[in-house]
Amino acid sequence: MASTSIAPVVPQSTSSGGPGRGRKTGTAYLFLAPFLILFCVFVLAPAVYGIWISLHTWNPLLPVHPFSGFDNYVDLFTPGSLTFGDFWQSMAATGIFTVCSVPFLLVIPLLIAVMLNQKIKGSTIFRGIFFAPYVLGVAVIGVIWKYLLDPQLGVVNHVLEAIGLPSRIPWTVDVPWAWVSLVGVTVWWTMGFNTVILLAGLKGINAELYDAASVDGAGAMRKFFSVTLPGLRPVMAFVTTVTILASANMFGQSYLLTNGRPGNTTRSAIMYIADQGLAQNQMGAAAAMSYVLFAFLAVISVVNFRLQREKTE
């Protein structure tokens, strides 16, 4: 029983497409409808609604939301305003975290992937072990490490003491140690994810390229830089982009491990925006902040994209 296409065949077919295809607008939109409904309600509409909110002083608990024009945005760039100091401090926190975490989140998984790519027994088991923290979820990780890194009660400091290293390190209390904790925990949590993807990328590199390099007399290091890395380029590009975005959007680790302390030094941009909008009830200001953050991320993404492009050209 062949199902016939639902849309009438529209004769004004100007598009390409194989013979007999023609335009199938009706069918297409039927296929797209479920997604488009969700997309319009929960992606497009909020994107516009958010801009609308950012143009008002929007306290959800009050009945009136007076229009305030670009005030919320101007405040973000006016030193001395209510939000200026806190917002840029939180952006700095996100910036520091991203800059510190991304290299580790790329290099360590790469090294592990290279190791796993060797002829070893049990590589699948190792792969599983390294990936396991990711399935636990950010809150489990946060709770576990908050305890392990507790300056008094955590085992990390006690191990350091046993070894003879300085051991009263305020892992969750003060910077720069708090950054070490945040980056370290993030690596522990998600390195498996990147490792696994990079490993697949490694396996996709043609073995003959290595043989050719060996014939040319290249050693392990040379092979790594002239065969492995270039071969990984597209996968690495993907992993880098995903990792940068994930770090720039960090929330759980700060919230659970340091709660933004000391002062507000480790309060990430997302933490601050969420707090302002949903706890302090200043939704207009928070919406404006989210768009400024978006602008930053857009610039970084474009730069990242351009850099990748140049490398491949």
Partner: protein
């Protein structure tokens, strides 16, 4: 960016092919290879221990009394060994961990199903059909790919509130299913599928629905599996959003629930760790059983480019 999808898929489901950096050949090489091999294993085992030891430590801590946890933090062995923490946690009813686990399971499953259905249908249209406004629709979808989720946080909160979905499973599954990643991911994959089989089917008179269900989907199993795993894990890990939209203790999912648990029992480490253990063990068991498929699926997500 133009990776041949099928061969990649084929390569991926095959047994892992080794691409060693250093192929031992000959006596002297072999000896060096052997030494390197040992270091390799050492490194991997150490890394594995870095993962496993903290988990074991937490497991043991959950059997300690508060006093023991505070006074003998360096000693992993609980003294006395007690189930008190578990008892308090499971009997108080205020932090229903198992309920949270099932809430997470239900939400992640529901959102994954919604994503798979909507994204695959939409991706088919984008990849295989010509229609008015195609460029606009595709452009709109792509343009949202890199938008940070925080943009949607506040407006979606208000939308969800107005829909009356606060504190319900809809709040944590529907908005999240609207993202562009799934449809984009599958569209890229579908585009890479060879068109000959479809052409043949069309010539035979098959309509789009038939082609979609009986040809495209079966060919796309690996990609769909990947999307399923990624979507499931993303929802499982969701933390910021549920914190604000879920209110009653029994409606929480595992992630915000654990955060609440820690807040409620901050210095009762035995109880907090017991909660972490209960939250981890079922997940780890499930993961271990399906480990290979899960990791393989995630692995291939990077190969679409």
């Amino acid at each position: 960016m133009t990776v041949n999808a099928e061969s990649t898929v084929a390569r991926n489901t095959a047994l892992p092919s080794e691409a060693p950096l250093d192929e031992p050949r000959g006596g002297r090489r072999r000896k060096q290879g052997g030494k390197a091999r040992i270091w390799l294993y050492v490194a991997l085992i150490l890394t594995g221990l870095v993962i496993i030891v903290p988990l074991i430590w937490i497991f043991l801590t959950s059997f300690k009394t508060d006093y023991n946890a505070i006074n003998q933090p360096a000693n992993p062995i609980p003294n006395p060994f007690t189930f008190d923490a578990y008892q308090t946690l499971l009997s108080s009813g205020q932090q229903p961990i198992f309920r949270w686990f099932f809430n997470s399971l239900a939400a992640a499953t529901l959102q994954t199903v919604i994503i798979l259905v909507t994204a695959s249908m939409g991706a088919y249209a984008l990849a295989r059909l010509e229609f008015a406004g195609k460029k606009i629709v595709f452009g709109a979808i792509i343009s949202t790919l890199l938008v940070p989720p925080v943009i949607f946080l506040i407006p979606n909160y208000l939308i969800v509130q107005n829909l009356g979905w606060l504190d319900s499973i809809w709040a944590i599954t529907i908005p999240g299913a609207a993202g562009a990643f799934g449809i984009f991911f599958l569209r890229q994959f579908f585009v890479g599928l060879p068109g000959e089989i479809e052409e043949a089917a069309r010539i035979d008179g098959a309509g789009d629905i038939r082609i979609f269900l009986q040809i495209v989907l079966p060919l796309s199993r690996p990609a769909i599996a990947t999307l399923a795993v990624l979507s499931f894990l993303t929802n499982w890990n969701d933390f910021l959003w549920p914190i604000y939209v879920l209110l009653s203790p029994e409606n929480l999912t595992l992630q915000p629930g654990l955060s609440v648990l820690q807040g409620a029992y901050s210095t009762h480490f035995g109880i907090v760790m017991a909660g972490a253990v209960i939250a981890s063990v079922p997940v780890l068991i499930l993961f271990t059983l399906a480990q290979r498929q899960i990791v393989d699926s995630v692995a291939s997500s990077g190969l679409k480019g």
